[in-house]
Structures are given as C-alpha cells and as structure tokens.
Amino acid sequence: MTASLIYFPGKGQFLSPEEGRKAAESVLATPLEQRRERCVELHLEDPEQLLCVSTLLWRLGEIEPARAFREAEFFYSFIEVPRRPIGVFDERDYYLGEFALIAGGVARILSKRADAKRWFDLAESHFVLAHNASAHIARLAYQRLALTLEERDFESVIQRTPRWVEAFTRLDLPEDALKCRFLEATALKETGRLQDAKHGFHGIKQEAAQKRFERLEAMASENLFQMHAFLGEVAEAVAEAGQASTILARLNNRVSLAKLQLGVGYLMRSQGNLPESVKAFRNAQHQFSEIEMHADVAATHLVLADLLLDASQPAQAEWEIRAALPIVDSLKLVPEGIAALSLLRDSLRRRQIDRQALRSLNGYFEELGS
C-alpha cells in the first residue's frame, strides 16, 4: 500500500486507508442501534473510516436511497452530539457538512423536499467553516439546483445553471460542471425545447465518455433514450437503452435502472404495445418500491391508470388511482398538485375519472424523483 508513505504507522492515532475501508464496510453492516455503545471497537470517530463511509454512502444513495438517508442521519448525529473531536484541523466541520449533504441529497431523491432543504441548510453551516469551503458550497448549490428542478421551476434552473457551470469549471471540477449541464438539459426537455435538450444530452454524453465519468455517461444515455422513446424514434431509443443499462448494471445504479425501465414503458406505449407497456411500468414500479422511492411508485400508478383508461379498463384504472392516493397524501404537494389531486378525488367519487386532473397530477409527479 503506497499510501503508507503518508500514513504514520506507530502513532496509533488513525486507521490506515486500507483499514479505514474495511472498518467502514464493517460498520455499515452493524445494526444502527448497536453502534453508539460499540463506538470505540468500531472506530466510529476515526476520520479515515468516516471518509470511506461517506464515499460508500454516496454510492448507496443510488442503490438503496432510504438506507443511505438513515445512515447519513446516523453519522451526522453521532459526530454532532455529544460534540466529538474528529481527526485534525477542519475534519469535524467537513464530515458534518458532508453527512448533512448526503442526507439532503438522498432526501431529494426520495422526494422528501422539506427534509432535503433542512439538511442542505445544516450542510452549509458546517461547510463554511471547513477548508475549501467554496467548492463545497458549490456542490451544495448543485443539490439546491436539482431540488429546484424537482419543484418544476424550470426557468429558474435554466437561468441559474450557466453560472454554476462556470463556477465549477473555474474550480477545476469538470464532473460537477457536467452535472449542472445535465440539470439544464433536463429543464430544456421539460419545457418542450427538445432539440436543445437532445443537443445538451449528446454533448454531456460525449464529454463524460472522454473524461471517463461513467455514471454521467450512462445517465445521459438514459435521458437520450427517454427522449427518443418520447419522439417515437425506436431504433435510436433501443440503442441508447442498451448502452445505458450495461453501464448502470455495472455500477449497480438501481435508481437509474428503475427509471430506464419506466422509459421502456413509455416506448412500448408510443408503439401501441399495451401489454408490454403495462409490464414495463409494473417492473419499474416494483423496482421503485424495493428501493423505497414512494413518490415514483405513486407516479407509476397514475401512469398505469391513464394507460388502462386508454384500454377501456376504467375499473382497473380506478384501482391504480386509489392505490396511489395514500402515498400522494403523505407527500407535501405544491398548490398545482393539490388542485389536481382534489379534482381527481371528486371525479373518483362520481365514478367518472377526470382525465385532465389525472394527467396534471401525473405531470407534477413525473419529475419528483429524477
């Protein structure tokens, strides 16, 4: 291990990078309720281990977001109360900021937007005290921008993104700059500027491939797939799906794999293949459910309801909507969402589903988890 050159064996202070990695895996396999009392044995205060844990949690956020949220919450509160001295120099502030940022980022993926905002504020309060604060504040700005996208304030995203792309470029953080461009392309897609969006995703995919940012390359492919599917460009869609799924499976990115499956559903629908479309949507829904992405489960119920109405199956459609409503109720909706929900409820009472309300509510949900 060449890193031993900069680790000081014999000091007995901190774990080596290799020890930290093993300890991090071991601590994540230990039930949360046992950790505090076993904190010395588990080296929970070790900065090397905390660094490895934070790296693992970012990955876990794309595999099991709900679990990643609970873990980030645990590590944040462990460091915060009682006040523990972590590592040297700025490390305590950095780790508090990083775990708060992970919790906020994963809460965003889980559509817990109020939680996400609270965690982002906490992250900011720690990052301003840490070394390299400007880069961490920029990373936080990216998460807030992504949240704005999920709140469907697309014009604001389009307006603010170029400034952060420039900030990340000047900070010499090309991957983060590309992630911002990704948000911009998504906002363009959502506002119907499809050619601009397609151009944007192509550029991201190309640059990500050049720089070996595999995750971003796969996600750009996934978005291109969705756009081709939406436009009925079947051959291109299938090619993109193939490329995306290979990389996503290798990265075990379950969130994006589930979204890809959703895209397959839309593609089949655009081709008029109802049975295959329903099958793909149900598959996607099952995958969202497994990773506790409840808003996406609800959104898929609404898509299925719309599809079943097309197939003249109103009773099944009603069942889908009724299955979605308890989940929708548990989420905090913006006024447009509440209005659509209320119209849909009224129409259910009349046993005559309001198609427009269903589509409005579905439109509102579509981007919640993206």
């Binding site: 060449t2 890193a3 050159l5 900069i6 680790y7 000081f8 000091k11 202070q13 901190f14 990078p17 900065p47 090397e48 660094l51 790296t55 970012w58 590592g87 040297v88 120099f89 490390e91 950095y94 990083e98 070394h131 390299n132 880069a135 961490h136 920029a138 990373r139 900070l171 010499d172 953080l173 983060d176």
Partner: protein, 120 residues
C-alpha cells in the same frame, strides 16, 4: 485502480516537493519550535492525504499543492492564536501574523513556481 494510483503518486510527489518548505514555513515564518513543527507537519500530511480523497478537490498538482500550503499557513497562524498573552518577538513572525495566512500562502506558492513537477 489506475486513478487511485495516480492520486497517491500526486500526493507523494507534492509532499516530497513541499516537505522542506512546509517545515521552514512553520519554523521561520511562524516561529513554531522545531519539535512542534515536526508533529504539525506529520498531521498536515495525514490530513492532506485524506483531503485529496474528498469530493470537490481537483486532481491537478497545482491546486492540490495550494491546499497543503494554505492549510500550513492557517495552522501556523492558529498556533499563535492559541497562545493567549504571548506575542512573537521575531519580526518575520510578526509580519506573517499581520499579513494573515492567505497572503503568506500566496508568497510561498510564488517561491515554489507554477509547475509543481518542476520542483521535483
């Protein structure tokens, strides 16, 4: 794997290049006693190794090196902040404390030159 290896190489390269300068900054610019400077230098290198693996830290040698120098100056500055009631008698240390760690870090980077590889 290759990426990890090159990161370690970069970190080692910076440490080997900057080691003497870090020690001299702590002892001469900030008047930290020799034994204390050695201890702080070890902590700085351990911290720097972990810093290089944080998200949000660029991979370029120049930027990485500037993080190490910047923290060295902050540590030297804080060393005196923690010694309540004690004031340095050395004029160079007084100057460093008066100018602040950011300015001293810039001066040190200038001494090292633009290309870290040139200093190996």
């Amino acid at each position: 794997m290759e990426q990890g290896f090159s990161r370690e190489r970069r970190v080692r390269s910076i440490i080997s290049t900057a080691s003497r300068l870090i020690e001299s900054t702590l002892t001469h610019d900030y008047g930290v006693p020799q034994d204390e400077a050695v201890r702080l230098e070890e902590e700085l290198f351990t911290w720097f190794d972990r810093l290089s693996r944080r998200p949000g830290v660029p991979e370029s040698l120049r930027v990485l090196r500037s993080h190490l120098i910047s923290m060295t100056c902050k540590v030297g500055h804080v060393y005196w902040s923690g010694r309540v009631g004690e004031n340095p008698s050395d004029e160079r240390v007084k100057r460093s404390l008066a100018l602040g760690p950011e300015i001293i870090a810039i001066e040190i980077e200038k001494q090292l030159g633009d290309d870290p590889a040139e200093n190996q």
